[in-house]
């Protein structure tokens, strides 16, 4: 894209849109499609993405998408799906949001059928569904183990055909402009040319995904640095439930690449160094298909008890995932990608070999504080920011509570993509005016990048990044304790100080990834701090947040969402209640 080839020192271009969608994953692209349809193609949409739009991390989603497709034949129901999700969330999910999810998910599976996803089908041409962790009935539709990839390609192809949508590939948003509780615009850096511009719009949907790159051992892409969450946070808006980071039990050692939960859904075993299926001790009825928080804790407990292995090169502990008994046919038909990955990256073949796995950061259950329609809230009292939505992993609606069930994320992204897209179209019918941006704002936005490049520090930003990830890996992993968390907080504060002294060696304009990385690292530092503070604050163990000092769930004091926001001299915390409709909290046994 060479349209906006304007240097730093010149006038900064301002572009107008009806809707900006920040992020091009499943949530963002779905929203673009439905906003277009709901407005009959009348609204002008910009999709702003720091990658090529079809390369968003959603492509890495493997196992499938949940939804009750054939209730009569499978004896499944949306109520059961809701119950599983709420129990899986350790009762922290807002139950009205869960109801919205399960009600709309089946439509979304069919929608993806209609735009070209190659769902695996049975002999009667029905969409097949597989078992997943914490789900009491197989209800996960899948396209081999590349579900996210197929959904992304279908969405990208569909979107690129829509004339009212402009895709700004490789444009990095570095500031969110809000005026009097209304969305105004975004400052955006075009990576290809190095020029900045302001994207002004009546509405915006933030759909930038999670922040699992807070950790170095993670299943997610290098690009998942939580930029959208950080943008909103830095703009003074609150985040919710940031302490809940999901650790996926089965990430390949040593590189952290995801081995889908579907591998266990298809019948895979977890084995410790004694060759035992140790899940029997932790979740007798569900075994390997217990929810992820429980399986991850079990693996760590086994390794601590000396029942794990040690990987020589990386020094990482691990246990084994055994898929050998599934047979060649099942693996080739239903899990081809993990076979390919295991072969290409560590030269092991799941048909013949055991796979070394350990838990890795996988999903950000917390995120931007939104109501159940995805509208961004400016405080804990549910006052929405006009014209701003946050959907998908970056938003916290909250449908996953303290622990997400596998395959609910793809449904979440598509359900709220549709809801937000439709809502924006409706909002725009009533709100037709822009807010003007003052010259002062424009020049200050323009200076941001120039000043960053001119900074004459001594610290290598990549050193800060690796130190940050190490701290998070060590201190805010599956089991947490007070001392470690406080240590992490001090270290992060030091790193934030060190960041003031960074040096960007690349001064070029064209595709300056050194500059982009620094912007990402700044975002990671903000989010790491938020995660740590929220984690220190919550004095109980619930879902993905397991604290050694407080081993039990405490519904009397902690059945509430943490809301964190920036203040003039630090951070503030408040709480918002959990919405409970039909399912009262009860002990969680699998």
């Amino acid at each position: 894209m060479f349209i906006f080839n304007i240097g730093y020192s010149f006038y900064m271009e301002i572009l107008d849109f009806d809707l900006i969608i920040l992020g091009s994953g499943i949530a963002g692209l779905t929203a673009a499609i439905h906003a277009t349809n709901a407005s009959k193609g009348q609204i002008k949409i910009a999709i702003v993405t720091k990658l090529h739009a079809m390369r968003s991390h959603s492509v890495s989603a493997e196992g499938g998408i949940s939804g009750v497709l054939y209730p009569d034949e499978t004896h499944d129901s949306t109520e059961l799906h809701a119950y599983d999700t709420i129990k899986g969330s350790d009762y922290l999910a807002d139950q009205d949001a869960v109801e919205l999810l399960v009600k709309n998910a089946p439509t979304e599976v069919r929608f993806f059928d209609h735009i070209g996803v190659s769902w695996n089908r049975d002999d009667k041409s029905k969409i097949q569904q597989r078992a997943f962790g914490g789900m009491s009935i197989p209800r996960t539709a899948f396209a081999a183990d590349k579900t996210g990839f197929f959904m992304m390609r279908a969405l990208y192809d569909e979107v690129s055909n829509m004339k009212n949508i402009s895709i700004f590939h490789e444009h990095f948003a570095y500031n969110l402009l809000i005026d009097k509780n209304k969305f105004v615009g975004l400052s955006v850096l075009d990576l290809a040319t190095g020029s900045s511009s302001i994207f002004k719009a009546k509405t915006a949907i933030v759909a930038t995904g999670g922040a699992s790159r807070l950790y170095s051992f993670t299943t997610t892409a290098h690009s998942t640095t939580g930029d959208g969450i950080a943008l909103v946070y830095k703009a003074g808006l609150p985040l919710k439930d940031m302490e809940f980071v999901q650790f996926h039990p089965t990430a390949l050692v040593p590189n952290g690449i995801l081995i889908t939960e579907a591998a266990r859904g298809e019948g895979g075993y977890l084995l410790n160094s004694k060759g035992e299926r140790f899940m029997e001790k932790y979740a007798k009825s569900k075994m390997e298909l217990a929810p992820r928080d429980i399986v991850s804790r079990a693996i760590i407990t086994e390794m601590k008890a000396g029942n794990g292995f040690k990987h020589e090169e990386s020094g990482l502990g691990y246990v084994n995932l055994d898929l050998r008994h599934l047979g060649e046919k099942t693996i080739n038909e239903r899990l081809p990608m993990i076979k390919e990955i295991a072969q290409k990256s560590i030269d092991l073949d799941p048909i013949k070999d055991l796979l070394p796995i350990r838990p890795a950061a996988h999903f950000t259950m917390g995120g931007i504080n939104t109501d159940i329609f995805g509208r961004v809230l400016s405080d804990e009292n549910k006052t929405p920011v006009n014209g701003l939505w946050a959907i998908g992993e970056c938003g916290c609606v909250s449908v996953h509570g303290s622990n997400r069930l596998g395959s609910n994320s793809l449904s979440q992204c598509s359900v709220w993509g549709r809801l937000a897209g439709n809502a924006v179209a409706k909002y725009l019918e009533l709100n037709k005016s822009f807010i003007n941006i003052s010259k002062d704002v424009v020049s200050s936005e323009e200076r941001t990048i120039v000043e960053l490049l001119d900074r004459k520090g001594n610290t290598n930003p990549y050193f800060i990044k690796s130190e940050l990830q190490k701290t998070m890996d060590e201190n805010l992993y599956v089991y947490r304790n007070k001392e470690d968390m406080l240590k992490a907080r001090r270290h992060i504060a030091d790193l934030k100080n060190a960041f003031k002294d960074i040096y960007i060696q690349d001064k070029g304009k064209v595709f300056n990834t050194n500059l982009r990385d620094v912007l990402e690292i700044e975002n990671l530092l903000e989010l790491a701090e938020a995660v740590t503070i929220c984690a220190i604050n919550r004095k109980e163990s619930r879902g993905a947040h397991a604290v050694v000092e407080y081993p039990n769930r405490d519904d009397t004091n902690w059945l509430k969402h943490t809301v964190i926001y920036k203040t003039n001299n630090g951070t503030g915390i408040s709480y918002s209640p959990v919405k409970i409709t039909s399912w009262k909290p009860e002990p969680r046994v699998y």
């Binding site: 209609h114 990608m337 990256s345 030269d347 064209v510």
Partner: protein
């Protein structure tokens, strides 16, 4: 190996016929002799019709597939023989020399930077480059994201072959402790290893890569699922693995000499949607591609299929499109006559 020599004439003799046929066909079309061209086409296809269209497919594609399977088998055998010393079971680190050809946007030239990188048995080329960026030279630019071979970002030329950096182990690719890396020269260059994809995306769009349905209300507000059998699914599934990494276009000798050609990536996706039983665009897709710069510029070098990291086989897809176009043309001629 012997067998592949036997099959060579089977591939190349009929293949040679295609360009001649096309040349004559083009001339007759250009000179406005529509009827003659159709008759000519019909007559010249007799040879192929002896086999029947499926026979045509079997001869061409069967030998192509056989050839590539054999090639893979040989490669694998070679790999296994010489692999004992590089199999990632050995511990410790090795210093590998990365010779990186970088495009300098200011001078508009390729310049070489040499880095010594500490790698272990599990390091892939992307790991090596990221290590360089973090520890030695932060100015080095490349695209990357998922590091698991599914996002399509890190296409580059490794030891002369267009490949994904995240899928190639350093030790397996290093020769005498060195590895050479260059940007994909088949795309316009931006900086270092980063190339410009604008043109690539436009070509992808040219083929209308989306599922065409008449009932838009059902498409966007679904109430039921579309019917599709396993067999129907298998017809397009292999072609839907395309991750848009651009390696096939980089490898295509035709695109590199004739930028007008739509190229293997876009055409394989055209076939992917054409072959999908849920698509209702039908032969309109074929007519859209019945152009020189469409399917007919393809000379079946098949280098696209050779470099595709996801096994899409764009060369196969393009030949299938050609067959469908000819079939379609023949059946329409029949309609005119009757």
């Amino acid at each position: 190996m012997k067998e592949s020599w036997v099959s060579l004439p089977t591939i190349y003799v009929p293949m040679a016929g295609i360009p001649i046929l096309l040349f004559l066909y083009t001339i007759s079309v250009l000179s406005g002799l529509q009827l003659i061209s159709k008759i000519f086409l019909t007559l010249s296809m007799v040879g192929l019709l002896v086999f029947g269209v499926s026979g045509f497919r079997d001869v061409y594609i069967g030998s192509l597939l056989k050839k590539s399977t054999e090639l893979k088998r040989t490669l694998k055998a070679n790999k296994e023989e010489g692999q004992s010393n590089i199999k990632p079971t050995s511990t410790g680190a090795k210093l590998i020399k990365f010779n990186v050809k970088r495009f300098n946007p200011e001078t508009q030239r390729l310049e070489e930077s040499i880095y010594n990188v500490e790698t272990d048995a599990f390091s892939n080329v992307l790991d090596g480059l990221l290590k360089i960026k973090a520890e030695t030279d932060p100015t080095l630019s490349m695209r990357y994201s998922c590091r698991m071979g599914i996002c399509g970002s890190c296409g580059m030329v490794i030891n002369g072959k267009p490949s994904l950096a995240c899928e190639n182990n350093v030790w397996e690719n290093a020769k005498n402790g060195e590895i050479s890396i260059a940007p994909m020269l088949g795309h316009p260059l931006l900086k270092d290893l980063v190339t410009d994809f604008d043109d690539f995306f436009e070509k992808h769009l040219f083929v209308n890569p989306y599922l065409f349905r008449n009932d838009l209300n059902e498409k966007y507000h679904p109430t039921k699922q579309y019917e599709q059998t396993k067999e129907e699914l298998d017809k397009f599934l292999p072609f839907s693995y395309c991750i848009m990494c651009g390696l096939c276009v980089d490898a295509c000798p035709v695109v590199n000499t004739n930028p007008e050609f739509i190229g293997p990536q876009a055409l394989s996706q055209a076939y992917r949607y054409y072959a999908d039983s849920r698509d209702e665009a039908g032969e309109a897709r074929l007519e859209h591609l019945d152009l020189l710069k469409g399917v007919w510029d393809c000379e079946f070098a098949a280098s696209c299929s050779d470099v595709c990291p996801k096994g899409v086989d764009p060369a196969f897809a393009i030949q299938l499109l050609k067959t469908e176009i000819i079939k379609n043309d023949l059946s329409r001629n029949k309609d005119i006559k009757s």
